[in-house]
């Protein structure tokens, strides 16, 4: 036991004092937020200036409404945020079509698109209010945002025109078609509680954290094992301690590193909760705190740890069976695959958390760490099931550490070549 501790301590302090670790821990949350937002930001980013759009309105009644809709932020329900960004993004002008045939107008507009004078032109045919199709032409019709905005603007204008024809006041329609909102209340042993979807959110975060941790720190386990083999430190270590202790110590050390990182981030999150929420509330934005019992949080921690152990050990196993980090990475691919499957299984489980299907897969040790937290925050499973799944996972983790230790010990006798599966199997069975 004490040797496990010595090894864990070395592994922990060597990593925690590493500059990269400190930097990652400090800027990690910022990076995480950024990587979440960046694709959306980039997608919305429009490198060009305002889009020049010319509209040929045969009806003579729609142009102004469409222009207003595109040039201002006055838009229909729920689209405010979207529209706000489009201020100044469109430069709309009419096409006077008096006395000219549609064909002539079309030809002229197409020519100015080709010459680059305008980006899009729109034809609103006479019978568009009765249901005919409006037409949008442009050099780049895959600019989905613009096409989308044009469609919405025309849509609003046409619907409004139809309502006026039917003698209905559009503002009345808006108030009559107001959506119904739901209060969702969960009934459980603890009584009734209002949920805001935050439970799902938290369960998802736990699953995601396990996933991230395994990707980041699992790789560290693999390269650490490979390094010890390549630098031959392993010979000195194995002449001093049991292979099982070495493996266990390494995993304990690295999982403590991961927990340290989350503790730092957790403190940051709590500070944000305390100070940031007040600030947000002051500026008119209210965030609901997810309500989760301390017991469930404790379960989360247990599942997180056991999940990390199971997957990190698989990484260690891959490292022990190979001689380079790259080869180890290849061998570890199925590990990620297993994890991703677990992740996808979350969705059917969310829909019916206490079905036989959900119960069975949440007892499979490789899926437990991801699935069980979801079940805990949805429709709480019986306590015995939670504990059973935890026990099965712990047993699996220890068994895997034992196997990895064997492979690790025999693997040092092998230079320069990757072990085959039958070879690994033989090592495991060897005394």
């Amino acid at each position: 036991m004490s040797k496990i501790w010595i090894i864990a301590r070395r592994e922990y302090f060597e990593r925690v004092r590493n500059k990269m670790f400190i930097i990652m821990t400090l800027i990690g949350p910022a990076l995480l937020v950024l990587s979440g937002l960046l694709p959306a930001l980039l997608f919305r980013l429009d490198a060009g200036g305002a889009k020049r759009i010319r509209i040929f309105d045969e009806t003579g009644r729609l142009y102004e409404r469409v222009r207003d809709a595109l040039e201002s932020d006055r838009k229909g329900d729920g689209r405010e945020a979207h529209a706000r960004e489009s201020i100044g993004r469109y430069d709309v002008s009419p096409v006077g079509g008096k006395g000219r045939s549609l064909e002539d107008v079309r030809r002229e507009l197409a020519e100015s698109v080709r010459r680059g004078e305008i980006d899009f032109y729109v034809i609103l045919p006479r019978d568009v209010i009765a249901g005919a199709r409006a037409e949008v032409y442009g050099r780049n019709p895959s600019d989905l945002f613009t096409v989308d905005d044009i469609e919405a603007a025309i849509n609003d204008a046409v619907i409004e025109a139809r309502m006026r024809e039917a003698q209905i006041d559009p503002s009345r329609i808006a108030s009559l078609s107001e959506r119904v909102r739901l209060n969702v209340v969960r009934v459980s042993e603890q009584g009734e509680e209002k949920i805001s979807g935050a439970g799902f959110f938290v369960a998802f975060i736990v699953g995601f954290l396990i996933y991230m941790t395994i990707i980041l720190h699992g790789q560290a386990v693999l390269s650490s094992v490979v390094e010890e083999k390549n630098s031959r430190v392993i010979e000195v270590l194995l002449s001093s301690a049991r292979a099982f202790d070495l493996m266990m110590g390494k995993l304990v050390g690295i999982s403590l590193v991961a927990l340290t990182q989350y503790a730092v981030w957790g403190v940051a999150a709590v500070l944000f909760w305390i100070y940031g929420l007040a600030a947000l509330a002051a500026s008119g934005i209210n965030l609901a705190l997810p309500s989760i019992s301390p017991l469930v949080l404790l379960y989360f921690l247990c599942f997180f740890l056991v999940g990390f152990f199971i997957y990190a050990t698989l990484y260690a196993l891959a490292g022990a069976a190979t001689t380079t980090t790259q080869e180890g990475g290849q061998l570890a691919m199925p590990v990620i695959f297993l994890l991703v499957i677990g992740f996808y299984l979350v969705f059917p489980v969310m829909r019916s958390p206490n079905s036989t299907f959900a119960t069975v897969i949440s007892l499979v040790p490789f899926f437990t760490p991801v699935i069980m937290p979801v079940r805990l925050v949805t429709e709480a499973p019986p306590v015995w099931e939670t504990l059973l799944s935890l026990a099965l996972s712990v047993v699996t983790a220890i068994g895997l550490v034992w196997i990895a230790a064997r492979v690790y010990r025999v693997g040092i006798l092998m230079y320069g070549k990757r072990a085959t599966i039958p070879e690994i199997w033989r090592w495991i069975r060897q005394p």
């Binding site: 060597e14 000195v236 002449s239 006798l413 005394p431």
Partner: protein
């Protein structure tokens, strides 16, 4: 965990008919040997003879397929590992770890208390002129210095049995001499030392007992002095002036070969070196070198291996 005092010559380690196979390949074949307290035991043989496999079984990294390994009468096992010190052939240190912390860690793994390990590491770093490198990362050190750090890691917990695999590799003569001095100190304290090398000249320098292995099997073992005596040829290295008349005596001298620094005089059967020396002195020759030629371990090894 203070080492148990042991009488010189007491058997510390006994290998009894130890065999290790890898698939169809036999790496060590029915090996018997005895390592005694207060003596340096040379485990010798060419590359691939089975030395490293034997050592790995001794330090309990692997276990024999057949036979037993006894350490002070107990079957080798995890409990006994703290009483061994092992310096592997290839340097085994964490590259990115500071020297001082590395030694403390390896000492703790051998069952030392934290403080005790720190003290021992400091003392040994001082002794081996590495004190100012204590806070440096290991890969900033030269190969020779790393080898000395590895050596400290091997002996800092005062093991009863020290196993050194190619310990002088990469060391300059000054440092090699320093390590040899320390090895002899441990020998003086009654510890047993296994010295493994493929360089037989080094073994002659240091060993009391040897075991020569070749292709997984023991070729020869015993006390080095005895072995040399047994393989002694009836020949003398001679440097002298005015010795020609005596050397011409065909009843005494079989033949004379000219070497770099001396003459190699092979005596007739039945004639003794004493006889030759007496005759030389009587004849008034001035003798500046007279030494009975002992075969080198290399020669002994080659003659043993090429035996039918």
């Amino acid at each position: 965990m203070r080492p148990v005092a042991s009488a010189d010559g007491e058997a510390i380690l006994v290998l009894d008919s130890v065999t290790k196979r890898f698939n169809d390949f036999t790496a060590v074949d029915r090996l018997n040997l005895v390592v005694r307290a207060g003596r340096v035991f040379g485990l010798l043989g060419p590359n691939g003879a089975g030395k490293t496999t034997t050592i790995r079984m001794i330090v309990n990294i692997t276990v024999p397929d057949e036979g037993t390994i006894l350490f002070r009468g107990q079957r080798m096992g995890l409990r006994l590992q703290n009483r061994l010190g092992y310096l592997p052939e290839e340097r085994g240190l964490y590259k990115k770890m500071r020297v001082g912390e590395q030694l403390r860690f390896l000492g703790e793994l051998k069952g030392m208390e934290r403080k005790e390990a720190e003290r021992a590491a400091d003392a040994w770093l001082e002794r081996l002129n590495l004190a100012e490198w204590k806070e440096r990362k290991t890969d900033e050190l030269s190969k020779g210095m790393q080898q000395k750090v590895q050596f400290i890691a091997t002996i800092m917990h005062e093991p009863e049995l020290i196993i050194l695999d190619e310990v002088f590799a990469g060391l300059d003569p000054v440092n090699a001499e320093l390590l040899k001095e320390i090895i002899l100190e441990f020998k003086g304290k009654g510890r047993a030392i296994i010295f493994s090398t493929h360089l037989l000249e080094q073994a002659e320098w240091l060993c009391d007992d040897i075991c020569l292995i070749n292709r997984a099997r023991k070729v020869l073992d015993g006390e080095l002095r005895e072995i040399k005596r047994a393989f002694r040829r009836n020949a003398v290295a001679l440097r002298a002036e005015g010795a020609e008349r005596v050397l011409d005596d065909a009843e005494l001298v079989a033949r004379v070969a000219r070497r770099n620094e001396h003459l190699e005089v092979v005596l007739q059967e039945g004639a003794s070196p004493q006889e030759l020396l007496r005759r030389l002195v009587q004849s008034g020759a001035v003798v500046t070198k007279f030494e009975q030629i002992e075969p080198s371990l290399r020669e002994i090894f080659i003659s043993k291996v090429s035996e039918p």
